[in-house]
């Protein structure tokens, strides 16, 4: 399977795209009321003021899109971070990005209610960049970024920011209730504003990663290999880290720190794909989107009619998968 021919790859990607469309359709169609294919099409076409059209156009479609792209972005962020730290068991959480974005979102929601939704997402992206730049600064060994120091500095910053979030919530217990789903990860707040930010950012990042896929591969091979191939590692690490912060910054500010996707999906995909990084990137983004969308679909029905935070469902699916990946890594050695 690892020596995928070009035809096989096209088949796999095609099948995954089909599956993605099917699950996104399921998310639009199923819920409190179920809508048929015809109802959905006529709602999109007419875009009128009936309840049905508004529910489909203003709630179901944006939520389905956001779910898919959050999963896709977090999975890609995980893949990149695993490559640049050369550690398969890390994700954007390790760089402190998720904690930073969560802190800023909680801060804005409680103390700066006037900034609005878009403002909070904007803050999230800025926070992700600030965290990443701080972590990079802290992990610099003389003039080079030390790959070994990177996760360590990220962890320290992450713990610090998490404690700041907790102190805000401690003094605002009632507000903590309103952040409960967000803190676990949820797509309930998704709307067209989130789509407008998330989708372009994700697509631009995927394209950039596809263009830079060779460099990502070289960086993952390590410092010596990169030097012998003449790749300026620090420069590319910086670019990749900015990509990670864009992907994770938007996703986390929109849906909360949805866990596990960033760590499981790249590992799962690597079981099928080994050396072709372009294929790896496309597959990771599709599988991440599918996992998040499927979890969102399940989350609507777990304790119907109540919503369940999607982060919880992903954790339930994610923990056994993660253990499987970790165990099989160990048995390889």
């Amino acid at each position: 399977m690892k020596q995928n021919s070009f035809r096989n790859k096209k088949l796999i990607v095609g099948a995954l795209i089909l599956l993605s469309i099917l699950i996104i359709y399921g998310n639009i169609s199923l819920g409190n009321n179920n809508y048929s294919f015809d109802q959905i099409i006529s709602a999109i076409a007419s875009n009128d003021n009936t309840n049905e059209s508004l529910i489909i156009n203003q709630i179901r479609i944006p939520r389905a899109i956001v779910g898919f792209f959050v999963g896709s972005s977090l999975a890609l962020a995980g893949l990149v971070i695993q490559s640049i730290t050369q550690n398969r068991l890390t994700s954007s959480q390790i760089l402190g990005v998720n904690s930073g974005v969560t802190f800023v979102s909680v801060l804005a929601l409680i103390y700066l209610p006037f900034v609005g939704y878009m403002g909070r997402v904007g803050f999230g992206i800025v926070a992700a960049l600030v965290v990443v730049l701080t972590v990079l600064k802290l992990s610099k060994n003389s003039s080079k970024i030390s790959v070994a120091n990177l996760p360590l500095s990220g962890l320290v910053i992450g713990v610090f920011l998490t404690s700041l979030t907790q102190s805000i919530l401690l003094l605002n217990e009632e507000a903590a209730e309103t952040m409960m789903f967000y803190m676990i990860g949820s797509f309930v707040r998704a709307n067209w504003e989130s789509v407008i930010v998330l989708v372009p950012v994700s697509i631009v990042c995927i394209i950039m990663l596809l263009i830079l896929s060779r460099n990502l591969k070289v960086i993952e091979l390590g410092n010596d290999m990169a030097l012998s191939l003449g790749v300026n590692m620090s420069k590319y690490v910086f670019i990749f880290v900015v990509i990670v912060s864009l992907l994770a910054g938007t996703s986390v500010s929109i849906a909360g720190p949805v866990g596990f996707i960033g760590i499981i999906v790249p590992n799962l995909v690597r079981k099928i794909v080994s050396s072709d990084y372009k294929f790896l990137i496309v597959m990771t983004s599709l599988v991440g989107g599918i996992l998040a969308s499927l979890s969102d679909l399940i989350s609507k029905f777990i304790s119907y009619p109540y919503e369940t935070p999607v982060g919880l469902v992903i954790s339930f699916i994610g923990v056994p998968m993660f253990l499987y990946v970790a165990m099989s890594e160990r048995s390889k050695r």
Binding site: G31, N32, N33, N49, N51, L54, I55, Q58, I59, R60, A108, L109, I110, P113, F114, V115, G116, Y117, R120, L170, L171, N172, E173, E174, E177, T178, M179, M180, F181, Y182, I184, S186, V188, R189, N191, I302, S303, P305, Y306, E307, T308, P309, L312
Partner: protein, 307 residues
Amino acid sequence: MNKKIISLMVAGIVTVSLTGCTNKENKVESNESEYTITHELGETTLKEEPQRIAALEFSYVDALVSLDKEVVAIADDLDKTRIIEEVRSNLGEYVSLGSRRTPSLEALMEVSPDLIIADPLRHKDIQKELEQIAPTIYIDSTSVGYDEILSAFEQIGKAVGKEDEAKKLVEEHQNSMKKGSTSAQKLGTVAIGVVQDGMLSLQTDSSYVMESLKDFDITNITDSKDSRHQVTLEQLVDMNPDTLIIMTDEKDADFKQFKNNPLWNKLKAIENGNYYEVDRTLWLFSRGLISTEVMGEEFEGILNEAK
């Protein structure tokens, strides 16, 4: 699901503690000036009627103000406005003890109170430390309904040596809540809720708000048996209540986003103008005699205003 599990656990703890209460029955042994109060975490002996009281939860402040007792320290989450104006204006100067969950023991020690009122769920872990500072009684205030708040009021009355007055005040309060002779039936189906986590958390018949307004005979849109019923905007549109009361304030960013959706304007209550915003600190978090009476008056106002 998470919230359901938590509320089930809390309900379990409350049931156990309430059973404990009925078995023991609160008793006051008047041994000259010394008397013993039995509360949720045991018994506490008070040498004399307390004059300097520390309150570690908002509802106790409401009770102490009603009973005209001096409150010297309050765990107010570092925000005086969390205490409603009607209570705050009758409060003297007090020392803030910081967060309700982890009140500052040092600050508490400095004000040297002669009685501390604490919550059994929140402050069980610091029971020893609190008792070293002053006699402490534990009264559940965070996870209980309307009737429990009334009996808690009487219990506080006993502790501060105003047992008869407390009973009388509770009676007066109950009468004032009955004064709503206008039935809420004219409102049609009613949804009272607060936006949390991007969803509307509806107050069910077993919630504090609905229990305290039960004499108004409200037709609640939800018949859920839980204390609250969380619905998405989509579900709310399906339920489509005749009257909608949202507990909110100007800092409520979550609600602003919730009503930003075009579907919000399609709700029957919005289209017909049967929509009201009320203060969430007063309606949702205060849980005292004074605040509940103000809430009752506001609800009557809504009834009079409704078409």
